[in-house]
Symmetry: C2
Subunit: 125 residues, 2 copies
């Protein structure tokens, strides 16, 4: 296997046309450390269920629009530049609360799995 | 500790004003599964060194602009919607090759650490 894999999702507007307005990257790129979804959802979108996780921490990064993350019953308003970490056991859902498109990235990876990073994991060549 | 942590990075234009045009989320949010950087860099930006990693897989998600990822000597043109996985041992650097701002997100997490995800890790409540 090559040391890298790349793919073209197309412009964000293309993702909006997909089922659920969502692309998962794990299968596309052969990821082994995390799953990542890129989401472009229309006005009125609401994830149709609450969920939690068994092992995985989730991180939401909001790129555009306005939404609400509901976590353990708390409603958190999010917009461009909002970033949120959610522990596995927290019950969560997300909705587009704005008048336009809502774009966000969600990363899930195993809680407490990161051993070192950046300066301690990186090696300058 | 709460089951979630949130922060406001501000609009992408605010990130461009920071040192290196970069925000790291691990410390901001108390992440334990990955490190994530959000990057908004100007015309002419080039990461000033090549690097590899000891343990961590990296995933780049390009949000805006045009750049080049150089991986093991291969030059890969990237733009909005390009996604790239890089194995720890690959030697890489990134530059803004366009005429405007270049925005990307980089996720690093421990290679082979993900045990289950989405339908196998999520629990509908």
């Amino acid at each position: 296997m090559s040391n890298y894999q790349s793919a073209e999702l197309g412009k964000m507007a293309e993702i909006a046309k997909l089922e659920m307005g969502k692309v998962f990257l794990k299968e596309t790129l052969g990821l082994t450390s995390c799953e990542i979804s890129v989401n472009v959802v229309p006005k009125g979108f609401k994830m149709p269920f609450n969920h939690k996780h068994k092992q995985n921490e989730e991180v939401f990064i909001i790129l555009k629009g306005e939404g609400v993350l509901t976590i353990d019953g708390d409603r958190i308003a999010v917009s461009e530049g909002s970033v949120v970490r959610i522990a596995p056991e927290a019950v969560r859902t997300i909705e587009n609360s704005g008048e336009g498109e809502f774009q966000f990235i969600c990363v899930q990876a195993k809680e407490n799995s990161l051993e070192q990073y950046t300066h301690s994991d990186g090696v300058i060549c």
